[in-house]
């Protein structure tokens, strides 16, 4: 009978953490060794306490071995010898050994919790700090959603393993080795008999694990397909309904559902084999010891106490063995997660500032692009020989079809990307010679898709300039025409914007991002105008706020609204990464070129 005397930490954790529907994953790192070594490096700062932990674990495991031995002694010497006083002594010794063993176990766990969580904290910090240095190219090529779910899953996988398993791994191995050694010291014959069980157990759990793994892989695939169908049909519900295809959707779902049922029964049945069958092996172990021991006892070769000791050891021996096979999968998953986390930490950061980069104060805001050539991929040039001059304080409207390169130009100014040829100068200085932080402090972006943080409105505005006082934030909001609607909210400036929750309208969000830019007080403003029309009144507000924001600053506007285009000091018409025309609205219309065509195409020959 192999009773597990106490629940493993995994059991306890599983019972509290309401993690649901998390299919067992079987993943493997490409190079588990390397990932392991790197992960272990995070334990290095905790060398001293770690040695302490190992010490305690050794003590705990060794003292754990003393219990069964003393029990055997009590049976033989005290009970067999009918000696009450020695019984008391042995019982007290047992109590002391057990108490100390558990005490050391608790201490080791308390220290290890601190070590492992601090190590993990450092890993997360490293990861985050590195993400701050990554180039815009990285973010453009790694969609936020996917990156995010990967990072959280990976970190979680590492956490699960590190927090639960380090100690049980060490203790399991130590206990097993300790038990084996003690067995051999106490009695060769019984120990040899015990050894027989190990290969059977090993072979057996391997066998089950193999089929279980295969089964779960299949299940995961089927479950993935079922979820894909469900996701697609539920999110496409309205279309399905409109085209009367509900029945065929149900049919598809039914088939996938059946497949999931089949593979779930298969995989789970295999995985459930392990528990009862290792139980049997445990019993088998006990039975072998009892019967062989009984036979040996009859011959007077071992004592009854010895048999009791061995049976006890056998029980303690199988439970770590069982734990080890559980640990295997979770450690593999953690290493696979660690590998991906390290992959991000190893991604090359944004090009660093040149060693002789100058720090710059406030720009006047004169911008010059000289024969700029750029492609996201060096083989595919998107900006060709682009030259443009924007005098300080003037407004330029960039106009052109989608994909012409308007947004790219603005990304080059902020140095989200570096140009391949040519030069970009601000106030006559090449921007590559300016420290990036200083360059960007002089620029402010107001984008179509306004991004607000899950924080208060006040903090969202203050994002523009961290040292701004509350008063300055209010002032910026007033100038951005946002003050009015903010004050109407129940908690005013302290309203918390839970992420993406639509507690603000699109127009209101836009006003907040303008307030942010006003507070930042940049000398150069980059504006990507919203195309989606908000209600007419808010639109007027936005326009008014924008005009205020643009006052006295060099502004580069990716323009969609006619009023902005018309009011710009100069309109730059871009197509295929080149400037095709430049001038003001009237001039360009008279020229009857690309701009005229672009403009007139909106009228489809309708006479006005």
């Amino acid at each position: 009978m192999a009773y597990e005397t106490t629940p493993s930490i995994q059991d306890v954790r599983a019972s509290f953490q309401r993690r649901q529907g998390r299919p067992t994953k079987f993943e493997k790192a490409a190079d588990p060794r390397k990932a392991m070594i790197r992960l272990l490096k995070y334990l290095e700062p905790f060398k001293a306490p770690l040695i302490l932990v190992v010490g305690f674990v050794v003590l705990y495991s060794l003292l754990g071995l003393a219990g069964p031995y003393l029990m055997g002694r009590a049976i033989d010497k005290s009970i067999g010898g009918k000696n009450l006083s020695s019984l008391l002594v042995t019982a007290l010794l047992m109590l002391a050994a057990y108490m100390l063993s558990n005490f050391f176990n608790i201490i080791a766990n308390l220290i290890m919790a601190k070590i492992s969580q601090n190590a993990l904290k450092n890993l997360r910090s490293d990861l985050f700090a590195h993400i701050q240095t990554l180039s815009m190219r990285f973010f453009d090529t790694h969609p936020a959603g996917g990156l995010m779910s990967r990072l959280t899953n990976d970190i979680d996988a590492i956490n699960q393993t590190v927090s639960q398993n380090v100690i049980s791994l060490i203790a399991s191995i130590l206990t097993m080795v300790g038990i084996l050694v003690s067995m051999f010291i106490l009695n060769h014959w019984l120990a040899l008999a015990s050894l027989v069980v190990i290969p059977i157990m090993y072979w057996f759990s391997n066998f089950v694990a193999k089929y279980t793994r295969k089964g779960f892989r299949e299940l995961q695939k089927d479950l993935g397909e079922l979820n894909a169908v469900a996701e697609e049909t539920i999110s496409g519900f309205k279309v399905i309904k409109a085209f009367r295809r509900n029945e065929s959707a149900i049919e598809t779902f039914r088939q996938k559902n059946k497949a999931v049922f089949k593979s779930a029964v298969y995989a789970n049945s295999y995985s459930m084999l392990l528990m009862p069958l290792t139980g049997v092996l445990g019993s088998f172990f006990v039975i072998v010891l009892a019967s062989l021991g009984g036979w040996l006892a009859l011959k007077g070769l071992v004592s009854i106490g010895m048999i009791a000791t061995f049976i006890n050891y056998a029980q303690n021996f199988t439970s770590p063995l069982r734990q080890l096979s559980n640990l295997y999968n979770s450690i593999q998953a953690a290493l696979a997660g660690a590998e991906r986390v390290f992959e991000i930490i190893d991604t090359k950061p944004e090009t660093p500032d040149l060693p002789d980069a100058v720090s710059a104060g406030r720009f006047k805001g004169e911008v010059r692009l000289r024969n700029v050539v750029f492609g996201y991929n060096p083989e595919r040039i998107v900006i060709r020989n682009f030259s443009l001059e924007i005098p300080a304080g003037k407004t330029i409207a960039l106009v052109g079809p989608t994909g012409a390169g308007k947004t790219t130009i603005t990304s080059l100014l902020t140095r989200f990307y570096d140009i391949q040829e040519g030069q970009i100068l601000i106030d006559g200085i090449d921007i590559r010679a300016i420290r990036k932080a200083d360059l960007r402090r002089n620029l402010a972006l107001v984008l179509q898709d306004t991004f607000l943080f899950a924080d208060t409105i006040l903090e969202n505005i203050r994002f523009g300039r961290l040292d701004a006082t509350d008063e300055e934030c209010f002032e910026a909001a007033r100038m951005a025409e946002a003050d009015h609607f903010i004050r109407q909210l129940p908690q005013g400036y302290h309203t918390n914007l839970s992420e993406r929750a639509g507690n603000l309208s699109q127009g209101q969000r836009q006003l907040l991002s303008i307030a942010r830019a006003i507070l930042a007080n940049p000398s150069i403003l980059i504006l990507d105008e919203a195309t989606s029309s908000v209600d007419t009144r808010t639109e007027l507000r936005i326009q008014k706020a924008l005009l205020r924001l643009m006052e006295g600053r060099t502004s580069i506007v990716i323009a969609h609204r006619l009023s902005t285009i018309r009011d710009a000091d100069s309109i730059v018409v871009i197509n295929n990464g080149e400037i095709v025309e430049q001038g003001n609205h009237e001039e360009l219309l008279e020229r009857r070129g690309f701009y005229h065509h672009l403009y007139m195409s909106q009228f489809k020959g309708n006479e006005i």
């Binding site: 009978m1 629940p7 649901q20 701050q132 973010f139 959280t152 029964v265 994002f463």
Partner: protein, 582 residues
């Protein structure tokens, strides 16, 4: 519990298997409890009496018992898994089928994400409840009670001494459960906070860079990171203490058994075999207790999930078919009439989205609906195919109130191109044919040509057989919209509704599409919703919506003179410039 009863009916078809599983479980507990007694017998009658016969026969019996125990354990596992998985499968299907029979309004209220959760983790929680109840749920109390009874049978006095220890064990478990629960919740909150910071940092990377907020973000993260680590340490320290404390209690019990039992053995009132059996039973009592804490969580989760699933299963479709519903007259002319229509999304409690709409769309003509976001354009067109029901007033097609028309007949005559062009996994051809499964290849190509999609389809590596990835990620917005238009055109409907369906297509292509629709769908009543004024210039009639009311209607030239709102929109988009420029 009431909620659970409803779910229980999903278990009904499998009651025999469930019963079988329970019987196997009881047998397993019985076999398990027999083993320590057999060991005791082996020691007392075999070894101490030096009777080899008894040693061998008892060993054989023990082996047999443990094999039987394993066999029934496996049978219990397999049957309980089958029951659980069958229930999960049936529940998933029931939920899915139910969803398919709901209306737009229901789906809006539930939201896609929530429905996915109902279908996945909620059904899994219910399944776990059944499966666990059939396994450890029944096993734990059984083997605990069994062990305690057998402890008393073996030695009454020793068993009584053990009771305080068992009670203490129970208290320890309850204490830790109570203390851990809120800490776990805090950990979850702090983890969410950390993830929010990370998520915002990644999604807003351009802003963080542009405003040079890297260091600020790092300090925000550092704070969240430290808070999480601190709380995690607490949880881990608490959690890892529970197990040694329980072990300690059992160990104290063992020591007591050795000491007190040993004393009795010396006096000859207790045998050695009984002591060994007793310690084994003692070890077996605390383990079920910890299993029970697991089960109580399973029940709590399962019941909460059952409740949420029932919400879906009990939902009444907001738009129900009238018992005496009729078909639309064939052929349908496609005349649409709104008579005093008002509409609220959530009954009368919400603000009206549409108020007192009276207008009509003439057969074969193009009617455009223009207005700002939130003015009620999409709501208005959703009333035509009866995706939603009016709150008051009437919508008529060919003089027939749509609420009195059979929904399949209604939808057969109407094709909708929705705002966000949803495509499905499959080939381009499958997606166009989605509108009418019996459409021929020629009809598909014809529809694609009219939607100006044929050219780009032919440029794709496999043409019409090109596979469309999940939700069309391998297509541009404009391409998806054109496929959605082709899908609607292939239906050859008498009413075609375009809900801002060309917003991502450039103006020139839009014109081509409109012209082609005019040819391909001659005689079809076209309703188009638009934000861009250029889209609606050619319509036979333009309806201007403002905050749920009709502000003006008529042709472009008339509206330009008569409607200030129309002129305002026109000016802001193009008009004023034209006057300046020309």
């Amino acid at each position: 519990m009431h909620e659970f009863k409803k779910i229980l009916k999903y278990a009904k078809p499998y009651w025999k298997l469930a019963l079988f599983s329970l019987i196997m479980l009881i047998a397993m507990v019985g076999f398990d409890l027999a083993v320590p007694r057999l060991v005791g017998h082996l020691i007392d009658k075999g070894i101490r009496q030096k009777d080899l016969q008894v040693v061998i026969s008892t060993s054989v019996i023990m082996l047999g018992v443990s094999l039987l125990s394993a066999l029934v354990a496996v049978l219990n596992s397999i049957s309980s898994i089958r029951v659980g998985e069958s229930i999960a499968r049936d529940l998933r299907e029931a939920v899915f089928v139910k969803i398919q029979h709901l209306s737009y309004g229901n789906i809006d209220k539930f939201s896609t994400a929530k429905l996915m959760v109902r279908l996945t983790s909620d059904t899994a929680a219910v399944q776990r409840l059944f499966q666990m109840s059939l396994r450890i749920g029944t096993r734990a109390p059984l083997s605990m009670i069994g062990s305690i009874v057998l402890m008393f049978v073996t030695s009454k006095t020793l068993a009584l001494t053990m009771m305080p220890i068992l009670v203490a064990g129970g208290i320890v478990i309850v204490y830790f459960s109570v203390r851990l629960e809120p800490i776990f919740r805090t950990v979850q909150q702090r983890l969410d906070r950390l993830n929010t910071v990370l998520q915002e940092n990644i999604a807003g990377a351009h802003l963080v860079k542009a405003y040079v907020r890297g260091p600020y973000e790092s300090s925000r993260f550092e704070q969240a990171n430290k808070n999480l680590a601190d709380e995690n340490i607490k949880v881990m320290q608490l959690m890892s203490s529970m197990s040694p404390i329980l072990t300690m209690l059992i160990n104290i019990g063992i020591v007591l058994v050795i000491w007190l039992g040993g004393g009795q053995a010396i006096h000859g009132t207790l045998s050695l075999g009984q002591i060994v059996a007793f310690t084994n039973y003692l070890m077996a009592t605390l383990q079920p207790l910890t299993m029970m804490t697991q089960l109580s969580n399973n029940w709590a989760n399962g019941l909460a999930s059952a409740k949420r699933i029932n919400e879906v299963l009990d939902a009444e479709p907001e738009v129900a078919e009238a018992p005496d519903a009729v078909s639309l007259p064939e052929p349908s002319r496609g005349q649409i009439e709104f008579e005093g229509v008002s509409f609220h999304y959530n009954g009368a409690t919400d603000l009206a989205v549409l108020e007192d709409i009276c207008t009509r769309a003439e057969p074969g003509k193009t009617t455009a609906i223009l207005g700002a976001t939130g003015s009620g354009k999409s709501s208005l067109i959703n009333l035509i195919p009866r995706f939603y029901d009016v709150s008051s007033g009437k919508v008529r097609i060919d003089e027939q109130d749509v609420r009195r028309v059979r929904s399949d007949s209604l939808l057969e005559h109407i094709a909708v191109v929705p705002q966000d062009s949803v495509l499905f996994t499959g080939t381009v051809r499958d997606n166009i044919r989605y509108g009418r499964p019996d459409a021929t290849d020629d009809e598909i190509i014809e529809a694609a040509k009219a939607a100006q999609a044929h050219d780009f389809i032919m440029r794709m590596p496999k043409g019409y057989d090109t596979h469309i990835e999940e939700r069309g990620v391998n297509l541009s917005g404009g391409q998806k919209q054109r496929l959605a238009i082709a899908r609607a055109l292939v239906c050859k409907p008498s009413i075609l509704i375009l809900d801002d369906a060309t917003s991502s297509v450039d103006v020139e292509t839009e014109t081509l599409i409109q012209n082609a629709i005019a040819v391909a769908a001659r005689g079809t009543t076209v309703i188009m919703v638009a934000q861009r004024i250029s889209t609606v210039l050619n319509a036979d009639k333009i309806i201007v919506l403002d905050q749920g009311r009709i502000a003006a209607e008529g042709k472009h030239r008339v509206l330009l003179k008569s409607s200030p709102i129309y002129k305002e929109i026109y000016d802001s988009q193009l008009g004023a410039g034209v006057r300046h420029g020309l």
